[in-house]
Amino acid sequence: MKEPVIEMRNITKRFGDVIANENVNLSLYPGEIHALLGENGAGKSTLMNVLTGIYKPNSGDIFFHGKKVSIKSPKQAVDMGIGMVHQHFRLIPPLSVAENVFLYMPDCKKVLRQKEMEDAINACSREFHLEVDASAKVWQLSVGEQQRVEIIKLLYRGADILILDEPSAVLTAQEAAEMFRVLRSMADSGKSIIIISHKMNEVMQNADRITVLKGGKVEDTMEAADATIERLTRAVVGEREFVPQVRQNHDLSEDVVLQAENLSVKNDKGLEAVKNVSFTIRAGEIFGIAGVAGNGQKELTEAIAGLRKAEKGTVTVRGEDLTSLSIRKHIDKGVSFIPEDRLSMGLVPSLDMSDNIILKHFGWEKFSRRGILKKKMMDQTAEEYIEKYDIKTAGIHSPVGLMSGGNQQKLLIAREINGNPSLLVASYPVRGLDIGATEAIHRILLEESAKGTAILLVSEELDEIFQMADRIGVMCDGNMMAILDRRDADYDTIGRLMSGEQL
């Protein structure tokens, strides 16, 4: 066996009393794709931050090509050829691809020629089959292309060890497949790659070896060939009984709640993002929208919630045309909305739980009288939610920005279903959440639909769609490609519709 490029031995990292990593061992060989699997908070990111010099471990050693090293700063890590693509890209949208890459170069010439830069980038992107237009501005690129720019940034600086944090989270199935193909060819050329992920299928298909972290410790390390879903699940969640929430088949009521007719909506750039879309959702129905993110789902949900103007068509809720009414009116008419961006839209991170609970509902009789807030009632409701939805928080008066993503989402969903909405629009409600939180959110959604609420569920995970939805609408490039009953649908058909094929 070859000598490992990186060997981390007995790494322990504590934050105060919290142990983030405990005696973690990890070795990375040249030419391999190594997956780090685990729930949120399992210590994957901490471990990678130790490797990239952001954190210094409390104990343990790192060996680089067999030599013991101490990585003191991110800069040193970069000099050693270790580079990381973060989940949230670090690019500057108004600058071009070439400018973004050169910005990252520590000691380049003071005067740069546009042409020279672009040629260099193009050469690099050809070498590694990372297609991207070097002169394009970053804001014009798709998420997949932006990710390629991040990878080029690292390669151009000569990185041999690439760490990618949840690289497929933002990609379409096709884009993800393409990305893994590129990663494989880079590994074949001798580079070592670590991917952080919590998707078991993806890891089994694309990695050479898998290390599972749980509670800061290595639970299991295996060859991908030896991995099975059962083995991985056991390692990731432990002996905890894990029953995915699954929608039972049932007949739909005749009672139409939402009717969208010939809806066309523009995106922020003024282009038509939703094209002549029509569908209905009935009481107690979960209508799933499958599709790669960025195919008009955001614009569609915002138009239904009243946050975005419809160019054409109508949105009717319980027989009432809401198309041109204000956001306030939508809320009052029983349209609830879980936006995809919970921390910048759905919640105010610097405010506490009590305040976030009344964000939309401060005018309710329950929470205020003649314009005076009922503080006691707000706090009491917060305590109720903590109890009822098992929300973990440092206290109802600590800022919600400090809560974990799962707890923030529980709080948000609790607020949105409070007051019995007619329609609940849920955009990527479990994105970025671990298995436990996902399960809880799904259970809440199922309970809510049992009460007769119509639910519009947008997701990019087909598993989730198949698990939850009664009917499935597939969106591609702003079009509603088809609407299928779940019982008649299969992964392959939906996948082809998502990529724009007609039935």
């Binding site: 839209m345 964000l359 314009g371």
Partner: protein, 355 residues
């Protein structure tokens, strides 16, 4: 050797903010002390004299409260706008227009006796300031025109209008100075019996308490808070942002207009051509130092007014009167820079925590 590095703090209590401010005010005084020493005076002697004059005599305190009144109202006005992230730099102009409306009422308004007359006059001044601010609020609300530029520029218009009126049509007869006639006695706010402090002071305290209550316990205050902290979330929550911009800038300007009222009715008894005398700008400094807390605004205003008054006393020692302005500037810059330590703390490098 242990190196230090910075780490973000997760939270800070109101008390630690207070301590921090006091500490860095001290630092500012030390810095100013060096400058005073550099021009050849004993800083300790100068400070002692200023302090004694401003805060250790009943007369000093009375004077500080009196000249603090317009500062308080400007500070309160500026705070409400800043809480919603609206940069109202125009308290100076709104103050001037408030005063102009006041004189107009006295000259041309109905003659109401006693308290109703005073209240009507106050409303008129409030209205003047509010309208002047709304001139900027409307473009901001409907076309997203930056209010910090428009409010600032309208200051010059208001000040020139004020000096035109004071030197022209409204100039008091037989006077060399640009000022209006003395206000009729009927409008003068009486003093609190025995204290020789105008009743305007408790009135301003009531306004501050109302604002405190407004921010904390009302749905309107809540909406302002949400818009200030996250406009995206506010829009999502169905909060009418346009209406709140108009409301908040209107209130903000109105309070600054009331500064014109108190100065006119409770302090000078006339409107003078240079009347706002930077109170609108000092109000911005006060609002920042008070972290937009209305109760703190009152206290800081009195301290600033005392500082300003006492600079005259050290002038006899030969210290330039600009010392007060210098100190105000230094306190503002240093205390706000000191906020850094409110948000970050030093930890030994290598110890736990995020970089």
């Amino acid at each position: 050797m242990k190196k230090l590095r910075l780490e973000r703090k997760t939270s800070g209590s109101g008390f630690s903010v207070f301590l921090n401010s006091v500490l860095f005010t001290g630092v500012a005084l030390v810095v100013c002390g060096f400058i005073i020493a550099a021009v050849g005076f004993n800083p300790i002697e100068v400070y002692a004299k200023m302090f004694r004059k401003a805060f250790l005599s009943a007369r000093g305190i009375r004077k500080a409260i009196e000249s603090g009144l317009p500062l308080m109202l400007c500070g309160l006005g500026v705070s409400i706008a800043f809480r919603m992230n609206l940069n109202n730099i125009g308290a100076e102009g709104q103050y001037a227009v408030g005063a102009i409306f006041g004189v107009a009422y006295v000259l041309y308004g109905p003659n109401l006796p006693g308290v109703p007359g005073i209240l009507a006059l106050a409303c008129c001044c409030f209205l003047g300031g509010a309208l002047w601010a709304l001139l900027c609020a409307a473009p901001r609300a409907f076309w997203d025109v930056d209010e910090s530029i428009t409010t600032l520029m309208l200051n010059y218009v208001a000040l020139i209008l004020l000096s035109y009126l004071c030197l022209g049509p409204w100039k008091a007869k037989g006077q060399n100075m640009g000022q209006t006639e003395k206000i009729p006695d009927a409008f003068v706010i009486p003093e609190i019996p025995g204290l020789e402090v105008s009743m305007a002071f408790p009135a301003v305290i009531v306004i501050a308490l109302l604002l405190f209550f407004f921010y904390r316990y009302t749905t309107s205050g809540f909406q302002i808070n949400v818009i200030g902290k996250s406009p995206t979330a506010a829009r999502y929550a169905g909060i009418n942002i346009r209406r709140n911009i108009l409301l908040v800038l209107g209130l903000s300007g109105g309070l600054a207009g009331l500064a014109g009222f108190v100065q006119y009715v409770a302090v000078t008894g006339r409107v003078q051509e240079n009347m706002p005398n930077n109170a609108g700008y000092t109000g911005i400094v006060i609002a920042y130092l008070s972290r937009f807390n209305p109760i703190v605004v009152i206290i800081v205003s009195i301290l600033f007014a005392g500082l300003q008054n006492s600079s005259a006393t050290v002038q006899v020692m030969g210290v330039p009167a600009q010392i007060a302005t210098m100190m105000q500037g230094a306190i503002m810059v240093i205390v706000i820079a000191g906020d850094f330590f409110q948000r970050y703390k030093f930890v030994a490098a290598g110890k736990g925590g995020k970089a």
